[in-house]
């Protein structure tokens, strides 16, 4: 985990450095024409370029100083570890607290030195890393054998507190990663539905919004989707494998609800960016869950029970309740969106088609709840038709909303599903050599056609939004 954290932090820092450098290069290139247009005064031009250039240098320095403090923290831990027997308890405590306080003092000192202000961020990171090391080593020194994810939770709290008080993006990343680790430990180690994660992620979201750290929304969404997957371990699905179909259906409804939340957020002034982002991630998650539901064998859910080869049974009452709750929430959300778009006269025809498609999907899901596994083939046909219709709708939706990632995502799922259906259908029917030859031609043909279509749509999208394709 520590190695992953180091790699992510350094990549982010170097990524920021490289982005800023290319931004400076572009500024230098564009500046003469901006001066000519009269948008920028000649005397200000050099100051602007110098300012971004110096920030770029600091980004590189920050990246290396982050790497340096992480190595230093690992060194301190290793020193204590390798001299565990020789150093007294008091000695260990003095070293651990001393390094943590020293890092805080260093951060404070760097903040007051104009030429190395950027180093304060790294010193704070060192302090937070040492806080985590202290939690673990003090637990080891005093044989504290508590609920082990609590250690990571306290560490994450320390990182979040520091991020909030010092407006540190690096520590926000650290805190998010620790929070995700914490929920993973709780979910997999103790098989509990880890709802406290929602409170912590809400705190992160609040911090992100007040500081306008828009790019952090990606991290938040990834963490949230991971949590949603971790939750599977708390549902005990391995006990009742026959319920997996209904679990996936419930996940699909949940992710659709998330997608609709994104659509709502797009309508709120100042939150459009977050809405678009939620839509992208929710579309990815929804399509993944929906894709699973297009597999006939999965819908049949055969298992070798005591009675031999048996199909799944209709859903238990719990799944009917879960589905009913999601259906009500989805209906309220969709109708609310409809009324909001009516007020602003921004409702588009594809909103209505989307609503119809959603109704069809919900109908299919409800029917499937009461069906036996023998009807899995018929259910698969219905889900496949709806899946392809949804992809077409999403392409159309992405085109008109200027969201190219949605268009790309739909094309990827379109290609994967088409190939999958080819395998399902012709694996048994065709001779093997013919199957692979036809499959090869299909892959090449599909690649050419879809890529050509995608590019032409991107060009249209670019001309609509004024961006590059």
């Amino acid at each position: 985990m520590i190695q992953i954290a180091i790699v992510v932090l350094v990549i982010m820092a170097l990524g920021g450095f490289s982005t800023r450098r290319s931004f400076t290069k572009r500024l230098k290139k564009e500046m003469p024409s901006w001066i000519e247009q009269g948008w920028v005064q000649q005397e200000n031009a050099q100051q602007i370029i110098d300012s971004t250039g110096s920030q770029s240098k600091h980004s590189a320095s920050t990246a290396f100083s982050i790497l340096g403090v992480l190595l230093f923290a690992v060194g301190v831990i290793s020193f204590i570890a390798s001299n565990w027997g020789e150093i007294s308890k008091l000695g260990k405590l003095l070293i651990l607290f001393g390094v943590m306080w020293g890092a805080f003092a260093g951060a404070s000192w760097c903040r007051n030195q104009s030429h190395i202000t950027w180093l304060a961020e790294s010193a704070l990171l060192l302090a937070v890393m040492m806080f985590g090391a202290n939690i673990m080593l003090i637990a080891q020194i005093y044989h504290i054998d508590a609920h082990y994810p609590n250690g990571v939770m306290i560490w994450s709290f320390g990182a979040l507190l520091t991020s909030w008080m010092m407006k540190s993006r690096v520590l926000f990343v650290v805190s998010m990663m620790l929070t995700t680790l914490w929920t993973g430990m709780e979910s997999f180690g103790f098989q509990t539905f880890h709802w406290p994660f929602l409170i912590v992620i809400a705190l992160h979201a609040w911090l992100m919004v007040i500081n306008k750290w828009k790019v952090m929304a990606h991290l938040l969404m990834i963490s949230f989707l991971l949590w949603s997957l971790f939750c599977i371990s708390s549902f005990g699905w391995w006990d009742e494998k026959l319920h997996l179909v209904y679990l996936v259906q419930s996940y699909l409804l949940f992710y659709l609800l998330l997608f609709l939340s994104g659509m709502h957020l797009v309508l709120e002034k100042g939150y459009e960016y977050y809405g678009e982002l939620i839509k992208k991630y929710a579309a990815l998650a929804s399509l993944s869950a929906f894709y699973v539901l297009t597999v006939p064998q999965f819908l049949e859910s055969r298992s070798w029970g005591s009675g031999g080869n048996v199909f799944r049974n209709p859903a238990d009452q719990i799944w009917i309740w879960v589905t009913a709750i999601f259906l009500i929430l989805l209906a309220i959300s969709a109708l609310w969106h409809r009324s909001k778009t009516k007020e602003g006269r921004i409702r588009k025809p594809y909103h209505t088609w989307g609503l119809l498609l959603l109704s069809g999907l919900l109908g299919c899901i409800v029917i499937n709840l009461f069906s036996f596994g023998e009807a899995g083939g018929a259910a698969a046909i219905a889900f496949n038709l709806l899946f392809f219709a949804s992809l077409l709708w999403l392409i159309y939706f992405g085109m008109h909303e200027g969201n190219r990632q949605l268009v790309n995502l739909s094309f990827v799922f379109f290609a994967i599903t088409l190939l999958n259906r080819y395998f399902d259908t012709f694996w048994e029917l065709l001779d093997r050599s013919l199957f692979f030859m036809a499959g090869g031609i299909l892959v090449v043909g599909l690649g050419i056609v879809l890529e050509r279509k995608r590019r032409s749509l991107m060009v249209d999208l670019g001309s609509d939004t004024g961006g590059a394709a």
């Binding site: 831990i77 204590i80 570890a81 390798s82 565990w84 027997g85 007294s88 308890k89 008091l90 405590l93 607290f97 943590m100 306080w101 805080f104 951060a107 404070s108 903040r111 007051n112 704070l124 302090a127 806080f131 202290n134 939690i135 673990m136 080593l137 003090i138 637990a139 080891q140 020194i141 005093y142 044989h143 504290i144 054998d145 508590a146 609920h147 306290i154 320390g158 507190l161 520091t162 008080m165 010092m166 103790f190 098989q191 509990t192 005990g236 391995w238 006990d239």
Partner: protein, 185 residues
């Protein structure tokens, strides 16, 4: 609030959290009633260094037949086990889901049911319970010494149990004599 003050506040909060961890443990060790439990150590490696000994006690596996209250309890529920002195060692006499009234001289230890659905099937009538005294860190290679003594059935643990039922390892005993004693520094 200035930046320096903010840094000071963060440093103080973090320090208090760490000191709180130690204080809570020391409160149990300094104020708790001392009991002795027989154990069988096993030794997987620590995340860092030194040997990390996992300890198992008889009270880690409670029988539903002997304590029917366990039947209605779920994973992670709090459980209070009353222990009584039987010679040098202590044994469970009753189990409750709330802190129980107990005879003078008896001790109540607080635990947590540690039984997932999978484990429930595997262990049948036995319910696993954790008390937070199942791990002990010793210097490198000393775990193997304990392992040898374990095989000779010589190792027991002196446990401090405070008024709330929280437990902590006070000393590792070999032939009822202290091998390691826990101190603040």
């Amino acid at each position: 609030m200035t930046q320096n003050t903010r840094i000071a506040v963060i440093a103080i909060v973090m320090t208090l959290l760490l000191v709180g961890m130690v204080t809570k443990k020391q409160y149990t060790l300094n104020t708790g009633a001392l009991i002795e439990l027989k154990t069988q150590p096993i030794d997987p490696r620590s995340l860092f260094r030194g040997d990390y000994v996992r300890l198992s006690y008889a009270i880690n596996r409670l029988e539903v037949a002997a304590y029917p209250v366990l039947k209605s309890m779920n994973n992670h529920d709090e459980v209070f086990v009353t222990l009584t002195n039987k010679g040098a060692l202590w044994e469970a006499v009753s189990v409750s889901d709330t802190y129980p009234e107990h005879k003078p001289g008896d001790v109540v230890i607080r635990g947590e049911i540690n039984q997932s659905a999978r484990m429930r099937r595997a262990m049948g009538d036995l319910v696993p319970v954790r008390y937070g005294i199942e791990n002990y860190f010793v210097a490198e290679d000393e775990g193997q010494v304990l392992e040898g003594l374990r095989n000779q059935q010589k190792v027991s643990l002196q446990i401090a149990v405070d008024h709330f039922g929280n437990a902590g390892i006070k000393a590792v005993l070999v032939d009822h004599k202290p091998l390691y004693i826990e101190t603040l520094f």
